[in-house]
């Protein structure tokens, strides 16, 4: 579905099955854990069993004496890994730098040591023999209590708040103020203000005040973190094969931690088995340190348990809202407190979460305070649009409750108050082109919404049917990107990019090159190089890969075209401005018989004694304007009022893709994010006991949706072009996760007339909301 006249192109805009699919369906693709090197050691981790404790003794003797154990690496040994003898773990303020706990453990599951063995079994047995003595420290486990001035500290004070994790995913101008002076668990606080709250609430005909909770959840990529690292003492070269969304990010981090010259450091981002914001670097630092210490290749593959305990899942939150609406449906005021549980290291998206909860709708009066709070839970990272499913779950239930309070259609209220292009965000910066209103309109016209009365009529005594709508979005990140594009002797083209292809972006890139050079998509091969062979590329995160690298590819193709035109014009004694492309040829416009094929152009630019330079196109862009993407999702569900079980019966995800370069992969992103949103809404949650130990560190109890839990998803693409994305494209990977949990919560209310204010909406919470279970 489109809301504007869709421009017609020849290669972009077509449903293109992904080019690398063949490798993946035959098991040929190489993921990091598939790499095996001669003489390779296996690393197993020793994890802290306690959420907060001082390490008083660390005895590795028994482990070292075990047959097949080659070395044990702890925080103290890291000075042997760094080329200048410095110790990167000392005083580390961010999670990536803190490879091993340095005297203090700050979450249960934090790596304390790695044991290297000739075999996996030897390393595993050795890990059991590492003897660590701990002195317990008070564990800080509740984010709200942690904010109290008299709360114990989750960790020794950190001087510099490090924003590496947060900045990887979004570009915002807001920088949170860091807590000053007295040591506190509040890692950062950001606030936004507009108008006059009292006046706003005075004007309201109806006010809603509620508080909402969202659980800590895992990205749930099916491939656990994995790295194989090799150090060759003779040449000083370090090679790292790893599962990451950003190989240059890994390179830069390893260079910084271990003082390695980048000429000697090669990072190969392998085929990636899912990342969703959670695959930055966890295993690469540890494996590389081990390889540098042992001077042998080392393989480190997280077990699922380790990945749940010690990777970077995404924060739980508390959101408190008070808001007002007039009987005509105008929003008058919002007062919001947004609290994210960052776990033991900073990295929670307090700034962007607070900005967006304040900016999606036109609040004339508002005050928002956002906090990132340190606790002794596992430290967090991103998940698709980080932090946004949390605030959406709160905001969209709030909007729903207000609309119902004044007897208006929730879709109408959203449309009436939705932000439009040019509206000021709470930060004072205007929204670039956005399609929030168009997205809501398309959802409101969808049969799930227009026929919701018929669905509700199916309700019986014990099975209640409801339909819910929720809207959300994501600003998208920005990062420079570059690529190369070379003409081959057979007239085809090879591109080299350094960005990871997780979900098929290389296919979209091939479509862009094919478009600009008027050739079939099959004539373009897009290759992912490593950090020594590919030009610089950012992290595949922040929904920015297509809109930044895609633009770079387009520039490179235009560069190639211009080089071809210049050479062809010279050969054909014509003017470069009169050249046109047709079917793999450069022709003089109007006289198709005066032409040079791409193959001929390759021959005369590469042959012995050739007078021309080889044709190599370069694309390098900086990105200035974000391309925010909005989504509106519709859930239809049945609640069993006896068991509290929820069955999703129908689903629609509407999303503004700007321009869908490859609708097949855009739908794939929408459906994948929707599936994650459904899990977050219904079943996924880190369950801690009272002492701060994770009770469900396995996939049996950390319940992600199966095919049987997931309904058919109707994807509806809206296209409101962005300013800078190629052909108007927007990032699509992240918005899709944001609204599912809120749509489910609103549908539950529609079915039952009560709200489940805590996500996920487990059967227990549903029964509690119905008053059928005591609190």
């Amino acid at each position: 579905m489109t809301t504007i006249e869709r421009p017609r192109y020849r290669a972009v805009g077509e449903r293109e099955p992904r080019l690398e699919g063949l490798h993946k369906v035959t098991g040929r693709s190489v993921y990091a854990a598939d790499v095996q090197l001669p003489g390779m050691l296996h690393a197993r981790l020793v994890l802290s069993p306690h959420p907060h404790a001082r390490i008083t003794a660390l005895d590795t003797e028994a482990a070292l004496g075990h047959p097949g154990v080659v070395a044990v690496v702890t925080a103290d040994d890291l000075a042997r890994a760094a080329r200048d003898g410095s110790n990167p773990a000392r005083g580390a303020s961010n999670r990536a730098d803190a490879l091993f706990a340095d005297r203090e453990v700050v979450f249960a599951g934090q790596p304390v040591a790695a044991v290297l063995g000739e075999s996996y079994a030897a390393a595993e047995e050795g890990a059991e023999l590492v003897h660590v003595e701990y002195e317990m420290l008070p564990a800080v486990l509740d984010m709200e209590a942690a904010m109290e001035p008299d709360s114990p500290l989750a960790r020794s004070p950190v001087s510099d708040i490090d924003h590496t994790e947060e900045d990887a995913h979004v570009t915002i101008d807001v920088r949170s103020e860091e807590a000053e002076g007295r040591a506190t668990n509040i890692a950062s606080h950001v606030s936004f203000e507009r108008g006059d709250l009292d006046e706003g609430f005075a004007r309201a005909d109806f006010t809603v005040e509620r508080s909402y909770r969202a659980a800590l959840v895992h990205q749930g990529y099916i491939e656990p973190h994995a790295t194989v690292a090799a150090y060759d003492a003779a040449t000083g070269e370090v090679s790292v094969w790893t599962s990451t969304q950003g190989q240059f990010h890994v390179r830069d981090t390893l260079m910084r931690l271990f003082k390695l010259p980048e000429t000697k450091l090669r990072v190969v981002g392998c085929e990636l088995g899912g990342g969703f914001g959670g695959k930055m670097i966890q295993s690469a630092t540890v494996a590389t340190a081990c390889a540098l210490v042992a001077e042998r290749p080392v393989k480190l593959v997280f077990t699922r348990r380790e990945d749940l305990l010690a990777a970077t899942p995404t924060p739980g939150s508390v959101v408190r809202l008070r808001s007002g609406i007039t009987s005509e449906g105008d929003l008058t005021a919002l007062e919001a407190t947004v609290i994210y549980d960052a776990g033991a290291f900073p990295g929670a998206p307090a700034a962007v979460g607070s900005l967006l909860i304040s900016s999606f709708y036109r609040w004339p009066n508002l005050r928002t305070d956002g906090y990132e709070v340190l606790t002794n839970h596992v430290s967090v990272g991103a998940i698709r649009a980080p932090g946004i499913h949390n605030i959406t779950h709160a905001l969209e239930q709030q909007i729903d409750a207000m609309a119902r309070g004044v007897g208006l259609d929730p879709a109408d209220v959203r449309l009436r108050n939705a932000a439009r292009t040019g509206d000021l965000m709470a930060s004072g910066k205007p929204f670039p082109s956005i399609g929030m209103a168009e997205t809501i309109e398309a959802a409101a016209a969808h049969p799930i919404w227009t026929r919701r009365d018929a669905a509700r009529a199916r309700s019986t005594e014990t099975t209640k049917v409801g339909v819910g709508l929720a809207v959300s979005g994501w600003l998208g990140g920005l990062q420079p990107a570059s690529c190369e594009l070379m003409l081959n002797s057979d007239g085809t083209l090879n591109a080299v990019v350094g960005v990871m292809d997780i979900s098929g972006v290389n296919t979209s890139f091939a479509q862009i090159v094919a478009e600009e050079l008027a050739i079939p998509v099959e004539s373009v091969s897009v290759n992912t190089g490593d950090t020594r062979t590919a030009p610089y590329a950012g992290i595949a995160a922040g929904s920015k890969t297509t809109i930044t690298m895609g633009r770079a590819l387009r520039e490179a193709a235009i560069d190639v075209r211009e080089q071809m035109f210049a050479i062809a014009a010279d050969q054909l004694e014509a003017n470069p401005a009169d050249m046109v492309l047709a079917e793999g040829e450069v022709q003089v416009a109007g006289s198709p018989d005066r032409a040079l094929t791409f193959r001929r152009l390759a021959a005369i630019t590469t042959g012995f004694g050739s007078l021309y330079t080889p044709i190599v196109g370069k694309g390098a862009i900086s990105a200035r304007v974000q391309a925010p993407g909005f989504t509106a999702q519709l859930a239809e569900l049945e609640v069993d009022t006896v068991s509290g079980n929820i069955t999703l019966t129908r689903w629609a995800t509407v999303q503004d893709a700007g321009y869908a370069i490859n609708p097949l992969s855009v739908e794939g992103q929408m459906e994948g994010g929707t599936g994650m949103g459904i899990g977050i809404g219904l079943s996924e949650e880190y369950l801690y006991d009272d002492e701060g130990h994770l009770r469900n560190a396995g996939l049996l109890d950390y319940r992600m949706p199966t095919a049987a839990d997931t309904p058919d998803i109707d994807s509806v693409i809206v296209e409101v072009p962005s300013e800078e994305g190629p052909y108007g494209a927007r990032g699509v990977g992240e918005p899709s996760i944001t609204a599912g949990g809120a749509a489910i919560a609103n549908a539950i209310h529609d079915a039952l007339g009560v709200r489940v204010a805590e996500m996920p909406a487990t059967p227990e919470r549903v029964l509690r909301a119905l008053g059928r279970l005591a609190d």
Binding site: G21, V25, Y31, G273, R304, E671, M676, I678
Partner: protein, 159 residues
Amino acid sequence: MARQTHLLRVNGREHEILAEPNRTLLEVVRDDLRLTGAKEGCGTGDCGACTMLVDGRIVTSCLMLWPEAGGHEVRTIEGLADGSALHPLQRAFIEHGAVQCGFCIPGMILAGVATLERTPGATRAEIRDGIAGNLCRCTGYQKIVDAIESVAQAPAGRD
């Protein structure tokens, strides 16, 4: 642990394996036979990434000790295509855009093969049940179910 020797038949080829009997079928196939198409996503039988077919039945190979597979016919994703001719399900997964990161895909396709062998002409609901032991985090299952359904509904003659 004392190593044992057994014959293992994988994708129609006999291999004589010498290995510790407490290693899993997944480990031996991946590390010793270097067939790395089957993946380890959990090691506890909960994700299906390690799915293999043993005598045509779905097996989570991370839970099966390799000597137990001795004397049986093991099939991995590498053995599904007939030379350069893809299995119809492999083709359908590509055409329907069912492949994203690909980590679940080898197991998912084999689960699809077993489902269609058990229930030819399976409905969408039957397909969803058939692959419910295989987690995918990228696709929301939509295009995976589409792909399997297209083969289930294809006129007989395509296997």
